[in-house]
């Protein structure tokens, strides 16, 4: 690191500005918190409210969209800490960061190689950019109930079949904490001229401990998106997009796309929390992670000893899609207890006041935080044991083969963009088989994009959605949780244009 990482330029600038005590005739309208509802002021504290500012007529606190002062320095420190060429502060979360990366890497009609285990927000980036997604095969591990990462072999095949592809998107680690063989895959992709985007929303802390998997920037990726709220303790929506390599050529485009997607009234609270999180990670990250990893290992041991529960661990490293494991993240397989993962999550929440990171059919996912204490571990293992004792069954509830697994569509008919903006009609999900989807159908709780616009809806997918939709804990999208209906491309009023299709493919035809 070339810079002095013990400073916090943005936080210091805000502190200095607040001390000046100027009369505020600028936005935000609450003016240092003085005009805000008292109940809210009490809840979040006047110290924070004093610093919820906007760019001023003076240069004291800089401006995110045109940074040349304290924000520019805070960004430089972030880039320095991660060895990135440039780092963008994001105040609108990792989802928008991923979209910015995709739109910066792909022009309309470019191909982007990705795997089904990416986060559904990638779909929005693909729609907005007008790119063609190229999915590598979706391997659903029925034994462990999770979607596998892309392997090096699959990447090679995809490159062979799509020599014109422009970009590769990988999620590392997966939501279960399993990282693919990142450096080899990045090398392979770069050999084929691909721009590599890593969705590292769960791995911003990797850089700070040698026992953790390799980070995207170290592996040589071009764009890396990190969620600093989840990994480094920034406020929610605080995220970072790192850019590496010959960034100068790209920065113009990236800045334009960033400005397109980012509010012109960015929150100084979120930006300041990024400055603080960077400071903390650089200066205390290793010790905190030492502590976290050590306790997580002990916790994994004690959970593994419980009846009906297994922690997925080192046996995963034998698989071709896993190169390393985020040891702060535990994936607990609950299958043998006879309790479904979602139900298990609900029981922990309702009866023991314990929140977990996520769940799926077969697993619970736990993240071990920086301030995790030993007594918390005892409480957790006691609670897990109590749930299994009261609700577990002697014989497992289901046999693996009956577990519904998503059968993804293999037939992309239109670009997601063309389908999204095309004429649409609404049909019952049960009557949608064979039609071309016009919206993003995602599994909100797990983050998996199930159907993209432009894909033909398959009967396996409809079966899966109906089965999953039957559970009250499944949510397909925040705005339409139940998914009774789906928007499809209205083939009756679509005037087809040659440019909508990849050569040789027609509506309903095989295009892959």
């Amino acid at each position: 690191m070339r810079y002095d990482q013990t400073t916090m330029p943005l936080i210091e600038a805000l502190d200095a500005y607040v001390r000046m005590g100027k009369a505020p005739f600028h936005i935000p309208g609450h003016k240092y918190g003085r005009g805000i509802l008292p109940a809210f002021r009490d809840a979040i504290g006047s110290q924070a409210l004093l610093r919820d500012l906007a760019s001023l007529v003076g240069p004291e606190i800089d401006s995110l969209h045109d940074a040349s002062g304290c924000i520019a320095r805070a960004k430089e420190l972030i880039a320095d800490a991660f060895d990135a060429t440039h780092s963008l502060m994001l105040i609108n979360g990792p989802d928008i960061g991923l979209q910015i990366a995709i739109m910066s890497a792909c022009d309309p009609d470019d191909e982007i190689i990705l795997c089904r285990n990416v986060h559904f927000s990638a779909a929005a980036g693909i729609i907005l950019s007008g790119a063609w997604p190229v999915f590598t095969s979706a391997n659903f591990d029925r034994e462990h109930g999770l979607l596998e990462n892309m392997t090096l072999l699959e990447l090679r095949q995809a490159i062979q079949q799509h020599p014109q592809a422009k970009a590769l998107l990988l999620m590392s680690p997966s939501r279960h904490g399993f990282a693919p063989d990142l450096d080899e895959m990045v090398e392979e992709a770069h050999r084929a001229g691909l721009t590599v985007i890593i969705d590292e929303r769960l791995g911003a802390h990797f850089r700070f401990h040698k026992k953790l998997p390799i980070s995207g920037i170290e592996a040589g990726a071009d764009f890396v998106v990190q969620d600093w709220h989840r990994c480094l303790g920034a406020l929610e929506q605080g995220a970072v997009l790192h850019v590496r390599g010959n960034a100068e050529d790209r920065m113009g485009r990236i800045q334009n796309v960033f400005q397109t997607m980012t509010t012109t009234s960015p929150s100084y609270l979120v930006m300041a929390s990024l400055d603080l999180a960077r400071h903390n990670a650089v200066n205390n990250g290793r010790e905190m992670l030492d502590h976290c990893i050590g306790l997580a290992r002990e916790l994994a041991g004690s959970i593994d000893r419980l009846r009906g529960l297994n922690v997925l661990g080192y046996e995963m490293l034998r698989r071709s899609d896993v190169d390393n494991i985020d040891s702060t993240r535990l994936t607990v397989s609950v299958g043998e207890s006879g309790i479904n993962g979602y139900r298990f999550q609900q029981l922990l929440e309702e009866e023991h006041d314990i929140a977990v990171d996520g769940a799926d059919e077969a697993n619970l996912i736990l993240s071990v935080g920086f301030q995790f204490r030993e007594e918390d571990a005892y409480r957790l293992t006691d609670a897990l044991e109590a749930v299994v004792d009261s609700y577990g069954r002697q014989s497992p509830l289901y046999v693996n083969v009956h577990r519904p697994t998503p059968g993804f569509s293999e037939n992309l008919v239109l670009t997601p963009r063309a389908a999204f903006f095309g004429p649409k009609r609404k049909v019952r999900i049960s009557e949608s088989v064979g039609l071309v989807c016009a919206e993003v159908v995602a599994h909100h709780s797990s983050g998996i994009p199930l159907i993209l616009p432009g894909e033909e809806i398959t009967s396996e997918m409809v079966d899966y959605i109906i089965a999953e939709g039957g559970r009250d804990v499944t949510e397909f999208s925040r705005m339409d949780p139940t998914l009774q209906y789906v928007s499809v491309v209205d083939e009756r009023s679509t005037i087809l244009h040659r440019s909508f299709f990849r050569s040789g493919a027609g509506l309903g035809g095989k295009s892959r």
């Binding site: 936080i11 000046m20 009369a23 005739f25 936005i27 935000p28 309208g29 609450h30 003016k31 005009g35 805000i36 509802l37 809840a43 979040i44 110290q47 919820d52 906007a54 007529v57 003076g58 979360g93 989802d95 928008i96 022009d107 309309p108 927000s121 929005a124 007008g130 802390h205 989840r230 303790g233 920034a234 929506q237 113009g252 800045q255 400005q259 509010t263 012109t264 929150s267 100084y268 609270l269 929390s273 603080l276 903390n280 205390n284 993240r329 314990i354 929140a355 993240s367 071990v368 409480r379 957790l380 963009r417 903006f421 095309g422 649409k424 909100h444 804990v473 949510e475 925040r478 339409d480």
Partner: protein, 496 residues
């Protein structure tokens, strides 16, 4: 109506059990933030990471949307956690397909052009009226909308900025009639007008006027946290499914509780305190306006401005817009002096004016400081010899007419580009926006032909030091133009 009918909402979550354990993220230190203490305090982190069970969160956000709609007088609403920018993106994405026409004032906020780029829509621009006396942009006259719609009967929607940054309002009622008589959609960027709905002495609000959608920056004028806005849907003409899909593209999947709760707090306050809260602000500002108008050399603009304009029919009385022409300095300089020397921090400056935003957070003491500061500044400058700024001379230079739109902005945005010196750019297609301040109206947007008049204007601007926004080379020595080879394959590919 009452907030109680919408329980539970975001702010009103019961205090969490202090013994609750969360294994939901690595970054969670004590109180949810990093273990290190900073001047931000701990409470904000605690509030930010106190997440109730997922189902409760979903219910709370639904209730918040219903509460926003009820308070703001709309049919439905979306809380926005990525600012009014995301609302403008959403309005454009939800109503226009690639290639469809949108009628929009040339000085619309840059997020409207961003929406046009993302959607692939074709903009039809209307030039707003410019006040040469104040060197400010007024607004547009409804007749201009009528003409634009008659010339472009295939347009789908009209997106207007109302009020402007300085609080100038167009004749919204007339505009609504013209737009809806022709069966088009009326979308309003009401960023600076979230308070209009709550006081009868304020200009007509978008929802009252019958607009189909509007976006409001609750954080600007009411008291939410920065970046917190709302999207309001006013009519059945908006397809709810398409809007939901569009919002799904631009909203984070994990919205910050700080922002959503601050929206709830701001609207609870409005519900309990309006219109009295706004009456107090209007009275306070009127008093300050009178006192400033008694100072020689400066003038605070009020409703009388409507008689000097063809387009402005009403003015937001909570704004304080001070004309400093009489002091022989620019508004930029005046704003900096007020900020640096008198502790009065304005919202924005123009060539001749300083604009101050007064809200429920301001006290009489603030306004006294503002009046005293202005008075001292005026006295100090009257003593000094006036030296007319080069900027003021520059403003006489007429803005060149718009170039022909050759590509939709989206195609130009994604096209391969070359950088050429400005004098060599005539006849080429611009790959970027060029927005001189003042007056803040784009001379070029992506996809437009660069005419010889524009080249001449840009060469002139370069000699003055007027601020140029929007383009990469801020010294405007070079321009990014669309590489001609693009024409071989990409024209008209707004769908791609």
């Amino acid at each position: 109506m009452s907030a109680q009918d919408h329980e539970p909402m975001v702010l009103s979550f019961e205090t969490p059990n202090p013994k609750r354990l969360a294994f939901d993220r690595v970054g969670a230190g004590r109180d949810g933030g990093p273990p290190e203490v900073s001047s931000l305090g701990e409470a904000v982190y605690k509030f930010d990471s106190d997440h109730r069970p997922h189902a409760t969160q979903v219910e709370a956000l639904d209730n918040l949307s219903a509460f926003i709609a009820e308070v703001c007088g709309s049919r439905s609403a979306y809380p926005l956690v990525n600012g009014t920018t995301s609302g403008n993106l959403g309005m454009v994405l939800a109503t226009l397909r690639p290639g469809q026409k949108l009628i929009v004032p040339r000085n619309a906020h840059k997020s409207v052009l961003s929406g046009i780029v993302l959607s692939g829509a074709a903009p039809v621009f209307i030039q707003p009226e410019i006040s040469s006396e104040l060197n400010l942009v007024f607004t547009i006259n409804p007749d201009q909308i009528r003409i634009a719609l008659d010339e472009n009967p295939d347009a789908c929607a009209v997106l207007l900025t109302n009020p402007t940054y300085q609080g100038f309002c167009l004749d919204l009622a007339a505009a609504e009639k013209i737009v809806h008589d022709r069966g088009k959609l009326l979308l309003i960027d009401e960023a600076h007008g979230p308070h209009f709905h709550f006081h009868q002495d304020l200009p007509l609000s978008a929802m009252t006027a019958g607009a189909d959608m509007a976006v409001q920056s609750i954080h600007k004028i009411l008291s939410a946290l920065a970046q917190s806005s709302v999207l309001l849907v006013g009519s059945e003409r908006i397809d709810a499914d398409v809007l939901r899909m569009a919002m799904g593209l631009i909203q984070p999947s994990a919205p910050s509780r700080l922002f959503t709760a601050s929206l709830e707090a701001a609207l609870r306050q409005v519900e309990a305190d309006c219109p009295d809260m706004i009456t107090r602000i209007i009275d306070m500002v009127q008093d300050a306006r009178n006192r400033i108008n008694a100072i020689p050399g400066v003038r605070a603009i009020g409703r009388e401005i409507t008689s000097q304009s063809r387009s402005v029919v009403d003015v937001d009385l909570t704004k304080l817009v001070i004309d400093v022409t009489g002091l022989n300095i620019t508004g930029y300089r005046a704003a900096r002096l007020l900020h640096d020397d008198y502790g009065v921090s304005a919202e924005m400056a123009g060539a001749s004016t300083v604009t101050l935003v007064v809200t429920v957070g301001n006290t009489q003491e603030d306004l006294d400081r503002c009046v005293t500061g202005t008075e001292q500044l005026a006295r100090r400058l009257r003593g000094a010899r006036g030296q007319p700024s080069p900027l003021l001379h520059m403003l006489g230079l007429a803005t060149p007419p718009m170039g022909r739109q050759v590509l939709v902005p989206r195609d130009a945005f994604f096209a391969r580009k070359a950088r050429v010196p400005v004098p060599e750019s005539a006849g080429k297609i611009s790959g970027e926006s060029v927005v001189p301040y003042p007056p803040g109206i784009p001379v070029l947007v992506p996809g437009e032909e660069i005419t010889p008049e524009i080249v001449e204007y840009l060469t002139g601007v370069r000699r003055t030091g007027i601020e140029i926004h929007g383009c990469e080379d801020r010294s405007i020595g070079t321009l990014k133009v669309v590489d001609e080879r693009e024409f071989l394959h990409s024209v008209g590919s707004g769908w791609g």
